[in-house]
Symmetry: C2
Subunit: 327 residues, 2 copies
């Protein structure tokens, strides 16, 4: 069976889709009330609110799919703000011709990823547009940030260290090879990172700033952080972790892992003297084994890359289009 | 200038679009921090969370546009839960070829509608897909519901009255005539309804259930409510308010205003003895002048329409596709 316009018309066909698919995999008390909105328990801390849309193509790729991506992307945005992700909404724009079975696989993946991350999907929406079997997903998320946590792009200080929690460019390289129909050993790193952040905060590690490294790669994230705080970021080229398969692909295609997106890596800025303790905690977590200190914050401006010979060049944020639709 | 893939790649072109367009019209302290998520002030009451995507075509129609619709839709879902809408996110999926000027008009309309409704747009996202100038918008929203308010589809009771806050089918008829290129006097009723709800609650009116009447029309909303509460809803045909221009159109095209969507009308269920007081309050509000009592709740099941001669027929929810993409 394929998705038709009636599935988005808000009548009985929409109702059947909600009951037969979304409610089945997202199953929780708040969603099951099927109201216009979910009434959440009261919150002691500060609510943190974010939203992302996902338009990746293909819908399935080695290491993940658009459903896992849609949950991880919003969970990671909340985690990067120092919040504990709690509730998501899931809104679907489906193109006619999408196989119901494909949709069900995507929704099942979202349910499983939400469970892994410890969040619940409490509300949603479905629209159908004329098309050729495409699927676009928006997730919005609410997290709770405890009193006293100050994590902000405006908070970098000279003397801080820069940690990345694993290899760069994996997701980007995976979507690229999938779209090109290439055989490759690369796999998306798409993963929820809230347990890494939770372990850091519980471990008493003071974090100044944090971003998940997505579109535009570390080059773009680092430039945004440096600009927001009016500081210089110095990255050590030999310290940047890149998976050999990704490195090979970059060589062949003339790509730079620094501007390539991940979907399961954080850039963490914290006082340099706390970096060792933080790395120990991060490396104990499922998605943090390859975490490494890659640079430091200094007075000045811009992002600079220093190589082993001492050469130094300025790194710009992504300027062109990168790879479209990696998320 | 037209939207290109680079505007969704997360690099400098995305940054310019955010600063030059979104930040300009959504301008507020929380958004301007440009973090991965917005840290909101603490909330005393219960957070209410909802999300909707908007895919209406054409993007502009008499009485509104997709931007106004996207803000009103989410504001109204929160209001219908008895919550005060406070914060929205706005996530855009843009097709290549969309004129920047068109996007700016839509974003300006969102900013103006948010201001009218008293909500702030605190976070967002932009993706670009290959296409022919389309624009899809997701808004998620957080509202605050005060202690003691119990408004739920499961809460209808025999003896309740049913109010609709104005004429049925206006938005649906408008989008339909716009798509068909017909000249018509109909105008969308797209409007934020939170002030009506706020006035009712401040006036001490006990509301049992509330829904904004969108896709599927009053027939679908009433069936959902009747089913959720295990009761019968009896509607009086002669009381149902329909704009003469919409009625004329329905006659020509064989449409039923009962299954046609609005974007600025509420269905309110409350103890019948409070209906007169509620109507007085609603009619004083900008978007409630034509509010009227249209029916009552009884023991039994289903939704029934009684005509002036005493005839009674059962009303089903929307079964086919209605008009696709009215929101």
């Amino acid at each position: 069976m394929k998705i038709e316009l009636k599935h988005g018309a808000g009548g009985q066909a929409t109702g059947k889709l909600i009951q037969g698919c979304f409610a089945k995999y997202f199953n929780n008390e708040l969603l099951n009330k099927m109201e216009d909105g979910a009434v959440l328990p009261k919150m002691q801390g500060y609510p943190v609110f974010t939203s992302d849309s996902f338009v990746v193509e293909p819908l399935f790729f080695p290491g993940g799919d658009i459903g896992r991506l849609a949950v991880c992307g919003t969970v990671n945005d909340l985690a990067a703000m120092g919040a504990k992700p709690l509730y998501l909404t899931a809104s679907f724009i489906l193109e006619t011709g999408l196989e119901m079975e494909t949709l069900e696989q995507i929704v099942a993946s979202m349910g499983a990823t939400a469970k892994e991350a410890g969040v619940v999907i409490v509300a949603g929406d479905t629209k159908v547009i004329e098309g050729r079997g495409g699927c676009y997903i928006n997730t919005a998320g609410i997290g709770e940030r405890q009193e006293g946590i100050v994590i902000s792009a405006h908070n970098l200080q000279a003397g801080d260290g820069i940690i990345v929690t694993g290899t760069l460019g994996d997701h980007h390289a995976t979507v690229l090879t999938s779209r090109m129909g290439m055989e490759s050993r690369v796999r998306s790193d798409c993963a929820p990172l809230n347990k890494i952040v939770g372990a850091l905060l519980e471990g008493g590690i003071v974090v100044h700033a944090m971003r998940d490294i997505t579109r535009g790669g570390l080059a773009t994230v680092a430039n945004e952080l440096a600009e927001a705080s009016g500081v210089k970021i110095l990255l050590q080229e030999e310290m940047l972790p890149v998976n050999p398969a990704v490195q090979g692909l970059c060589g062949i295609l003339g790509l730079d892992p620094l501007t390539m997106g991940n979907e399961g890596k954080l850039c963490i800025v914290l006082p340099a003297e706390r970096a060792e303790g933080a790395l120990k905690i991060i490396r104990e977590q499922k998605y943090g084994n390859d975490a490494v200190l890659v640079g430091r914050v200094e007075q000045g401006e811009g992002v600079w890359l220093q190589n082993e010979l001492g050469g130094c060049r300025r790194i710009q944020p992504l300027q062109g289009e990168g790879l479209p639709r990696i998320c």
